[in-house]
């Protein structure tokens, strides 16, 4: 917001300046009825193409992926290296080990 006012003012001035410079060269349509200006060659009809993949050069760039905060990165990396937090398997959580005479796999 703080930047908008100067930008708007600048843009208005620029628009005014531009208008002053160029308006006479571009008569309004209703003022140009004396001689029909030679019609510029119609631009070639835009090819109606099948939708295709946009060519690389014209393709807008993908926005950068959302940044991962350092703390979140550590958590993501922890997931990747193995979510080794123990889960509760109920009161028999170590039944397998106990019944096997103490297990240290």
């Amino acid at each position: 917001m703080r930047r908008r006012l100067p930008i708007l003012a600048g843009a208005t001035l620029l628009a005014l300046f531009a208008a002053a410079c160029h308006k006479p060269e571009e008569p309004a349509a209703n003022e140009s009825n004396v001689t029909e200006p030679a019609k510029p060659a119609p631009p070639p009809a835009p090819k109606v193409e099948k939708p295709v993949e946009a060519p690389k050069a014209e393709a807008p760039k993908a926005p950068p992926p959302p940044e991962v905060m350092p703390d979140q990165q550590v958590l993501d990396d922890a997931d990747a290296t193995g979510m080794t937090a123990r889960t509760d398997r109920g009161s028999d959580g170590d039944a397998g080990a106990a019944a096997n005479g103490g297990e240290g796999q």
Binding site: E53, A62, P63, A78, T84, G90
Partner: protein, 492 residues
């Protein structure tokens, strides 16, 4: 950096494990990477006759219900669940239940079916005493529920298995056609197919037109993160290849990773270091919580970093590098004497027994820090002067060791509590440049895992490439083992 098989076969590792390994700095005998071992079916096990306990009808029904859900753990159920409880069928049912108990707790593979580099192995396990105890105390269901690996990573994969089996059952996904890279702004049939494909795994992608819009771009970036690829938002060859892995293969990948969870110890030390070789990432856990993580570089295919567990006992600052003969022969001797001299190598000995040692310093392949732990493969964690590799998304480039992006941070963390090796002392030792060994005040467990499929608590399932082809090797072995178990069951 160096990875040298020193023994033809591994002993079963227990964790934390201290194997009487050769000194990592000794010049080892180099072996060419062996051909993939063929799976040799062990001879049928003739179990000594055991007096079967008498189970009540309710207990037999309980066993049937348990076996009906065995498949949820990725364990192929046996065929013993349908018969009425005649005495003979009860025996079959109990044998099937014992087979399942062993498979879900210890894994399906017999010791001889492990590849040489799969050094993280479960201890022998006999479910019989636990089963008898559970029968006597009439708590079969509780006992069976206690058997799978008690880790969140296993449970999230179990949910992922159910989800991807559903996807597979529903027809999976269509293969996306190859062509030019798909980029934001594109439209057409290929984009429509891409959108459909992404939505199968990503419920956050809304329905929309056949246009590569912001939603598709974000979904592609999410998919790339899940596949361990650079999140460019465009679909190039690598992303297309990951998207085109069939759903059936993803199911097998999940099952293979669930099997690896069964090789872990029943309990991990609260203070530990974990590396995922496939992702080339290291995490330090303190009091069971992740406190530090960093990028790593792990072994390239052909120089695989082995799965193992061990204990880091000391850190070497400014380590020299004793070059393994194979690396010297293949990569260094051909470069000539001038190169060797300019990079700090000196020749030790002469004749056919001559070997190379690179002096400590800025050019040392081991960088400024090396973390020593005993293991039969001659691998360790270390620094590297090749820092550029850490910027890559694919970081499998070492000779088998694990190179670290921030080894000094890790050194200071693991030396906390040492009166001699304060952070300032570490900095001073590094600055001085002479080689010195710092024993850790407490040894810290290190685990080198190979996870190519893992799921977050929110259900997001990540699939990495299988750079060593260990998933497919394991999946094949699992099938062989399951078939063998069925044959043995039928023969009883």
């Amino acid at each position: 950096m160096i990875r040298v098989p020193r023994r033809p076969a591994l002993a079963v590792l227990t964790a934390p494990v201290l194997l009487a390994a050769a000194q990592p700095q000794a010049v080892p005998t180099i072996q060419s990477p062996p051909p993939p071992p063929s799976v040799v079916a062990p001879p049928p096990v003739v179990a000594p006759p055991r007096a079967m306990p008498r189970l009540t009808d309710a207990q037999l029904g309980e066993l049937r219900a348990i076996l009906d859900t065995a498949d949820a753990n990725g364990i192929a159920p046996s065929d013993a669940t349908s018969a009425a409880p005649t005495s003979q069928d009860a025996t079959t049912l109990i044998n099937a239940a014992l087979d399942y108990a062993k498979a879900v707790h210890h894994g399906r593979l017999a010791p001889e079916e492990f590849m040489k580099d799969w050094g993280l192995r479960p201890a022998e396990y006999d479910p019989w005493p636990g089963f008898l105890d559970a029968v006597q105390k009439n708590r079969l269901t509780a006992w069976f529920n206690s058997l799978p690996p008690p880790y969140a990573g296993y449970d999230t994969l179990k949910k992922a298995l159910a989800r991807y089996r559903e996807i597979e059952k529903a027809g999976g996904w269509d293969t996306l056609s190859e062509g030019t890279d798909l980029v934001p702004g594109a439209s057409g049939d290929r984009v429509a197919a891409l959108r459909t494909r992404l939505a199968i795994e990503d419920s956050a992608l809304p329905e929309g037109p056949a246009k590569y819009d912001a939603d598709v771009t974000a979904a592609v970036q999410r998919a790339q993160r899940r596949y361990g690829l650079e999140p460019t938002g465009s679909v190039g060859k690598a992303t297309l290849a990951a998207l085109n892995v069939p759903a059936h293969d993803r199911v097998r990948q999940i099952e293979a990773n669930m099997e690896r969870w069964r090789w872990l110890p029943a309990e991990l030390p609260q203070h530990r270091i974990q590396v995922n070789i496939a992702a080339a990432v290291l995490t330090v856990f303190d009091a069971d919580k992740p406190v530090l993580s960093m990028r790593a570089v792990t072994g390239r295919p052909g120089d695989e970093t082995p799965m193992l567990s061990s204990m880091i006992h000391s850190i070497v600052f400014n380590p020299p590098w004793n070059v393994p003969t194979s690396i010297a022969k293949r990569e260094l001797w051909p470069k000539g004497a001038a190169y060797l001299k300019s990079h700090g190598y000196r020749v030790i000995g002469s004749g056919p027994t001559a070997r190379l040692q690179q002096a400590a310093g800025p050019k040392s392949a081991l960088g400024r820090v090396k973390f020593d732990f005993d293991n039969p493969y001659g691998v360790y964690l270390h620094d590297t002067p090749s820092q550029g590799t850490f910027d890559r998304y694919s970081r499998l480039a070492s000779h088998g060791c694990v190179r670290l992006a921030h080894p000094v941070d890790l050194a200071k963390l693991t030396l906390q509590g040492s009166t001699d090796w304060t952070p300032d002392a570490v900095d001073a030792a590094l600055a001085k440049g002479s080689t010195v060994r710092a024993p850790l005040p407490e040894r810290i467990a290190v685990f080198l895992f190979y996870w190519t499929a893992y799921a977050s608590a929110d259900g997001r399932v990540s699939f990495l490439a299988d750079p060593y082809s260990w998933d497919s090797a394991l999946a094949d072995r699992l099938k062989t083992s399951a078939d063998r178990a069925k044959q043995q069951m039928a023969a009883r």
